[in-house]
């Protein structure tokens, strides 16, 4: 049903999006918690940095990634010495997706934390739970809807990531040619439009499935909470 190139793009897109989401999650939870619960002097700066990937053109992000993490990049050269290569590599595609999708994941989780009734956490503390235990047993489970929404948004955004990815890791079949990049490549070829259209439909199906799964998971959780 699918050609090898299409399967390769599909597998690569799913792999990159999944890793990006998994790695972003703990950082997003930590940052969301900090922003939701703490006030500090440089908070406005942290917020601005967080929003930056959302307002910068993806190509600019890709270029910055190249300058920082390319093989000769400021950080990349040291990573290279340790055997870690990010440019022209699916791992670099994961990094690009993480940067652009991270703000999308933080916001819903932060909102979830803000919506938790603080008194529930106080009660848990008075019952003998340490702050860490309160976080794990009360705050985190109650923030689950936000974490789910954030994960789905992050995953979907990663599936569609193009500009930063192609600038940073290039367009290498089986290595960095994700679905959007494959579509772009097919559109450059003399009679590639029909392949491009197939991949566009595939993208739509994937995005829809993610959103529908999100809907049902949320429903189930809300039913459990009696909302």
């Amino acid at each position: 049903m699918f050609s090898p190139e299409e399967l390769s793009a599909l597998y690569l897109s799913a792999k990159v999006a999944l890793w990006a989401t998994l790695i972003c999650l703990p950082f997003a939870v930590a940052l969301a918690w900090t922003l939701a619960r703490h006030e500090f002097r440089l908070k406005f700066l942290v917020e601005a940095c967080l929003q930056l990937p959302m307002v910068l053109p993806p190509v600019v992000l890709g270029y910055l990634l190249l300058v920082l993490f390319g093989n000769k990049g400021w950080i990349g050269q040291y990573l290279n010495a340790m055997g870690i290569e990010l440019a022209f590599n699916w791992k670099g595609a994961v990094l690009a997706s993480m940067i652009v999708a991270f703000p999308l994941m933080v916001q819903p989780i932060r909102l979830s934390f803000q919506l938790i009734n603080r008194q529930l956490e106080h009660v848990a503390g008075s019952l003998g739970a340490s702050p860490f235990r309160v976080f794990c047993s009360i705050s985190l489970p109650l923030a689950l809807p936000g974490m789910l929404i954030g994960s789905i948004l992050c995953f979907s955004r990663s599936l569609g990531e193009f500009g930063a990815t192609i600038t940073f890791v290039g367009n290498i079949p089986d290595e960095t040619r994700t679905i959007p990049i494959a579509i772009y490549s097919f559109l450059q070829q003399p009679d590639g439009e029909e392949f491009a259209i197939r991949l566009v439909i595939l993208s739509l199906c994937l995005a829809f499935s993610a959103l529908i799964a999100n809907y049902f998971i949320l429903q189930k959780y809300q039913r459990k909470l009696g909302a």
């Binding site: 190249l66 022209f88 290039g170 290498i172 490549s185 450059q188």
Partner: protein
């Protein structure tokens, strides 16, 4: 008061439209510097002409033209994409003139010492680490020529997974300049422009299709007097010839 202001704005606009003739030339990325230079010379002679160059991979440009982009002249890096537009009825076959020749070279960053021999017995894949940068091999002319050469020299399979295809040949050049790629395959004319790369070898002319740069007026351009004049300038003027040769292009005989 408002009416007269409105009127004068319209008048000014119509005057400016009447005097500035726009010529849109869609040129392959490898022609960027040459076109800029001869554009400057042309503008000195004809200051009223508004030259709008659009540079990119010939594949991307051709696709844009097919999608309806407004263009008067198409100057491609291979015949395939010119023929593509002829098939799509945007250019007349008899308007096409092959103008320039180019060569394909292998480059590396200036500070590296990578051996190269343009013979199929030479183990190219082992001679460098990391990736090789060139244009997208399915669409960008530089990449297509590169693929032909690599196939002819029996190197393509051994380089599997290490070839980075860029949007256009200049991007490949930049990657090698930055040292992100140890080697690249670009046109000789591109290599000569850069201070940060060196040519480590030339791919034999018989290992790929002749690298011909055809130029043609589009159907739209054929009705634009200024476009016709500019195209003639590029094809026949001694200044244009001198510029192309300075950059390393060879002129076509015909």
């Amino acid at each position: 008061m408002k009416k007269s202001l409105f009127f004068s704005v319209c008048l000014a606009a119509s005057i400016s439209v009447a005097h500035a003739e726009t010529v849109r030339i869609y040129a392959a990325a490898s022609l960027t510097n040459a076109i800029i230079d001869l554009g400057k010379i042309y503008q000195k002679q004809y200051p009223n002409t508004n030259l709008v160059p659009v540079y990119g991979a010939s594949s991307a440009l051709a696709k844009q033209l097919e999608a309806g982009a407004s263009s008067d002249i198409f100057f491609s890096a291979d015949l395939d994409w010119m023929n593509y537009l002829i098939k799509k009825n945007l250019i007349h076959q008899n308007r096409v003139k092959p103008l320039l020749f180019n060569q394909l070279v292998v480059i590396s960053p200036k500070n590296l010492n990578i051996p190269f021999k343009a013979q199929s017995g030479f183990n190219f894949a082992q001679s460098f680490k990391g990736h090789l940068c060139t244009g997208q091999m399915e669409s960008v002319p530089a990449g297509k020529y590169a693929k032909q050469s690599l196939t002819k020299l029996n190197w393509l399979n051994s380089l599997n997974g290490r070839i980075v295809g860029t949007d256009d040949v200049r991007s490949a050049l930049v990657f090698v300049e930055r040292g992100e790629c140890d080697v690249g395959i670009v046109y000789k004319t591109d290599a000569l422009i850069s201070q940060k790369v060196k040519i480590i070898g030339t791919l034999p002319a018989d290992s790929h299709h002749p690298i011909i740069y055809p130029i043609a007026l589009t159907k739209q351009g054929a009705k634009n007097a200024d476009a016709i004049q500019f195209e003639k300038f590029i094809k026949t003027s001694p200044q244009a010839k001198s510029i192309f040769q300075t950059y390393g292009f060879r002129m076509s005989q015909s």
